[in-house]
């Protein structure tokens, strides 16, 4: 019969029209509470009706890999050794890989010697130019630049605030852990701990040296440092909290406390010096 197609179509429209309401009745007001389950159903593959979310009263949280303009990772404020220290070493890879070339970096240099120091003096990202491709994050060898989740960047004046400087760009490492826990854990596994990769490398070198020294001095007492390295090397499966603690305080269980304190301070000083020397040499050699 002519017109049946239209009628059938209208039937489907009516079905869709009521689907949202039947969903509504089925879940009642629970649907709009903050409970995870309700939102999960409403936005998931099982939902029947129209599933708009009422922004800004409710926002669909973005998945971990979501990428918006980058930020720079710095140590947390309560970091024991270097609170607020940059993870960025001003190696420039992000600036070189950036497709629209929106990253501008000034590498720091030692005021006395004039040699480059692995730290950015200034760091700018023009967020009007940034195309949110995520290459900077992907290719950063130090896990120092990350893509943010905060997409609400509206401002009243585009001419003054859309070039983000270093101060505007930095966010603590704990923030990165909070927005992307899975990725952060994977990266920590790859690095071997929660610290900056250079810190971890130095620690490993130092430990290896200490182990060698200990082995040479008193071969009988060898098991102690071995045990400590075993405790510190993260098992690939669970790197999370235990590793962080292991990194923060890594006392060999046999040695007494005062001795350990002294050794730790010594190690720390040595490490800092070595780190600076090595970096300066490396960067100097590059040029």
């Amino acid at each position: 019969m002519y017109g049946m197609g239209i009628l059938k179509g209208l039937g489907i429209t009516i079905k869709h029209f009521f689907a949202t309401y039947t969903d509504e009745i089925r879940y009642g007001l629970r649907k709009y509470t903050k409970a995870v389950d309700n939102f999960q159903i409403r936005q998931g593959p099982e939902t029947k009706g129209i599933f708009t979310s009422m922004y800004p009263d409710e926002k669909i949280a973005v998945p971990e890999r979501f990428r918006f303009v980058p930020f720079l990772v710095v140590n947390d404020d309560d970091h024991p050794d270097a609170p607020g220290a940059d993870w960025c070493t001003a190696c420039g890879i992000c600036a070189k890989v950036c497709p629209p070339q929106c990253i501008w970096i000034v590498r720091a240099s030692d005021p006395n010697t004039g040699r480059p120091v692995p730290r950015p003096d200034e760091f700018y990202i023009d967020i009007d130019i940034c195309m949110n491709c995520g290459f900077c994050m992907e290719f950063c060898p130090f896990d120092a630049i990350k893509m943010d989740h905060d997409y609400e960047l509206a401002s009243y004046d585009r001419t003054t605030v859309h070039i983000h400087d270093h101060e505007r760009l930095i966010k603590p490492f704990s923030y990165w852990k909070s927005i992307a826990p899975t990725t952060a854990t994977e990266e920590a596994e790859a690095r071997g701990g929660w610290e900056h990769i250079d810190v971890i490398k130095e620690r490993k070198k130092r430990e290896a040296a200490a182990a060698r020294a200990a082995a040479a001095a008193q071969p009988a007492a060898a098991p102690a440092p071995q045990a400590s390295t075993a405790a510190e090397t993260p098992a690939a499966a669970d790197v999370a909290a235990p590793v962080a603690e292991a990194v923060a305080d890594a006392p060999a269980p046999v040695v007494d406390e005062a001795e350990e304190e002294r050794k730790k301070a010594e190690r720390l000083a040595k490490r800092e010096a070595a780190l600076a020397r090595k970096k300066a040499k490396q960067e100097g050699g590059d040029n």
Binding site: Y2, G5, I6, K8, G9, I12, T13, K34, V36, F39, Q40, Q43, G44, P45, E46, I50, S53, P56, D57, E58, K59, I60, A61, V62, P63, E64, R65, F66, A90, G92, A95, K96, V97, P99, Q101, I103, W104, I105, V106, R107, P116, E122, Y124, D126, M131, N132, C133, G134, F135, E138, F139, H149, D150, T159, H162, I163, S178, I179, P181, T182
Partner: protein, 623 residues
């Protein structure tokens, strides 16, 4: 000629491109020579014989489909402009690649529009961007830029208003990047325009205005209709700001009563010189730019570009092809993209038909679900930037999971495989069936689509139409089968073809193609399970890979049709970090060649629907 005709022509028509090249070398001694540059294929043809050779390629060798025609500027390496043609057989197989060279100062080549009408827009593009004059072209004028544009921007010595450096990365960014500034400070609006020396802005008249002025004057053309009623020729300007054009696209239509005499598409409002940007970029940098071509199917764009560059990389000594899991994920993404695109396309076709936004909304509902998955996998819903040379960016996540980080954030958490299987096995098939019931039998849709905008099969091939437009005309041509890539050879699916080549057939092809995509996806799911944990990228990813010299034409069957990338690495025997030439053979652009012929004689009210049935995205048309 005569004794060649006596030869069994069939063997010529089925031979390899190498056989074809050998035949051409023999038949046109002196006019055809082999391209011997390292990494280059095909033959170089003397411009004087170009038309004759092209005709032979088409008629005797059976290369009936001209996929791409584009120019390259070899400034500093012989100082010539080169037109590169890629011809294919509709029955499948690899390309016959032939080239013609001309000098830069007085660039002139014969037009091939008489052989393949599909060369029309592509030659106009080459004229516009490279300044090559094509003798015998029926309508040789700028296509993407406007008449008052100074110079030909794709030439290597042309510099943009905000020019900074020849190649990226720019030196000013690191290690002394203190000179940060907003680009618009250097590129002040109003001062960023140059005009040709003999150009007078006041005298510029637009093509539509020209006709309008003519109308207002005494030159009104009168027509007698069949029933004796006399009418004027009326010029209607549709667009660029018109909701039916799916973006900023314009049609100048000359009408006889309500019937269309001629239709001239005007485009380029979204032109950003994508290819010039691409030639300043490194190979990798182009990947996110390809997202912005056909922004509804960015995964497919990524895939095409990755394939083109991988072909080039394969010329070098150290190349490892993408891993199997990477290929599985690529096909998963490409087919989901096809569904996303066709949902959008059908929804908008209904919009154009006047079913305002209800069908669109239902289709979009499903599309959003797929985009949720894209977002979880790649980090972005539309600008996915997901493929890499030799694999993909990251493995698909175990869970589609979000974290509440902002005020009022609502969290979701699904198992990815479960989500995909629910979508592919239940939700999408159910929806597509319902959508089919919803629309296909609708009398209004049928009345307005059946027999409207007919494109016969021979015309479709000749006009280089691709995708559902070509298949709707009954030509079973799909790059996934004609020249298979990735893991398509091992997948079971059919090429959907129409019969009459009208709007309804294109609509039906899209509807059925979604089902075929689901069929592919159902074969992909077990493969995803099997390959779990395998590497998703071969080798290590370099941030600026060095690509060995050569040329490559990588093409994929994108939802809108054949998407090709012509990439040339040239100038350094050890390989280059930036492409010498980066060309996009955009299906949305070349399919528009068929718009004029398709609409001739149709009613003005059908133009909107016919345009909707081609399914264009202006980001890709204008590039």
């Amino acid at each position: 000629m005569v004794d060649h005709a006596a030869e069994p022509v069939e063997t010529l028509k089925t031979g390899t491109p190498e056989d074809a090249a050998a035949y051409l070398l023999e038949k046109f001694p002196g006019a055809v020579s082999a391209d011997t540059r390292p990494g280059f294929q095909g033959v170089i043809v003397d411009p004087a014989k170009l038309v004759e050779v092209a005709q032979t390629i088409k008629d005797e060798l059976g290369y009936d489909f001209l996929s791409s025609a584009t120019a390259v500027d070899y400034l500093g390496y012989g100082d010539h402009l080169e037109m590169v043609y890629h011809a294919y057989r509709i029955s499948g197989g690899t390309a016959l690649n032939f080239k013609a060279q001309t000098d830069r100062e007085n660039a002139k080549l014969p037009s091939l529009v008489g052989v393949w009408r599909g060369a029309d827009f592509q030659e106009r593009e080459a004229y516009d961007l490279y300044g090559i004059h094509f003798d015998g072209h029926p309508n040789l004028k700028r296509i993407l830029l406007w008449e008052g544009f100074d110079g030909h921007p794709m030439r290597k010595d042309w510099k943009e208003a905000y020019y900074e450096d020849e190649l990226k990365p720019f030196d000013s960014r690191w290690p002394d990047g203190g000179g940060v500034h907003r680009s618009e400070e250097k590129n002040v609006f109003g001062k960023n325009v140059r005009y040709p020396a003999d150009f007078d802005l006041a005298k510029l008249t637009d093509i539509s205005e020209e006709s309008l002025y003519k109308m207002a004057g005494v030159d009104v053309e009168m027509h007698a209709m069949d029933d004796g009623v006399r009418t004027d020729t009326l010029v209607v300007n549709m667009g660029p700001h018109h909701p039916s054009t799916h973006g900023v696209f314009r049609m100048i239509i000359s009408l006889n009563g309500e019937s269309i005499n001629t239709l001239e598409p005007v485009m380029g409002y979204l032109h950003r010189n994508h290819e010039k940007i691409g030639e300043r970029n490194t190979y990798l940098m182009n990947m996110p730019y390809t997202d912005r071509l056909d922004y509804l199917s960015s995964m497919g764009n990524n895939l095409g570009y990755a394939i083109a560059v991988e072909q080039l990389m394969a010329l070098g000594p150290r190349y490892s092809p993408p891993t199997y899991r990477a290929e599985v994920i690529r096909v998963l993404m490409a087919e989901l993209t096809r569904i996303v695109n066709h949902l959008w396309s059908i929804g908008f076709l209904l919009n154009d038909l006047g079913a305002f936004f209800t069908p669109m909304l239902y289709a979009n509902n499903e599309r959003e679900k797929i985009l949720d998955f894209f977002e979880a996998a790649s980090g972005s819903r539309m600008m996915c930037n997901y493929m890499r040379f030799g694999g993909v960016f990251k493995d698909i996540p175990e869970r589609i999971k979000s974290m509440a980080t902002m005020v009022n954030d609502r969290v979701r958490d699904y198992d990815t495989m479960q989500f995909l299987s629910q979508m592919i096995n239940e939700r999408l098939p159910r929806f597509i069936d319902e959508y089919d019931r919803y629309l296909t039998e609708n009398e209004i849709l049928r009345e307005r689509c059946i027999g409207v905008g007919v494109l016969p099969a021979e015309d479709a091939i000749n006009l280089s139409a691709v995708g559902p437009l070509l298949r709707g005309s009954g030509v079973a041509y799909d790059v996934r089968r004609a020249e298979p890539y990735s893991i398509y050879p091992e997948l079971d699916f059919d090429i959907v073809v129409g019969k009459n080549g009208d709007i309804f057939d294109r609509y039906a092809v899209r509807m059925q193609e979604m089902r075929e995509s689901l069929r592919i996806l159902r074969q992909i799911l077990p493969r995803l399970e099997q390959t779990k944990g395998e590497p998703i990228v071969s080798g290590t990813q370099a941030y600026s890979p060095r690509v060995p010299p050569g040329e490559s034409y990588g093409r994929v069957e994108n939802p809108k049709g054949e998407l090709g990338y012509y990439v040339v690495s040239y100038g350094d025997d050890k390989g280059t970090q930036n492409p010498w030439r980066y060309h996009v053979r955009a299906p949305s652009f070349i399919n528009l060649t068929a718009l004029g012929p398709m609409t001739r004689g149709m009613k003005i009210a059908d133009v909107v629907t016919i345009l909707g049935s081609i399914d264009i995205v202006l980001g890709e048309t204008d590039r």
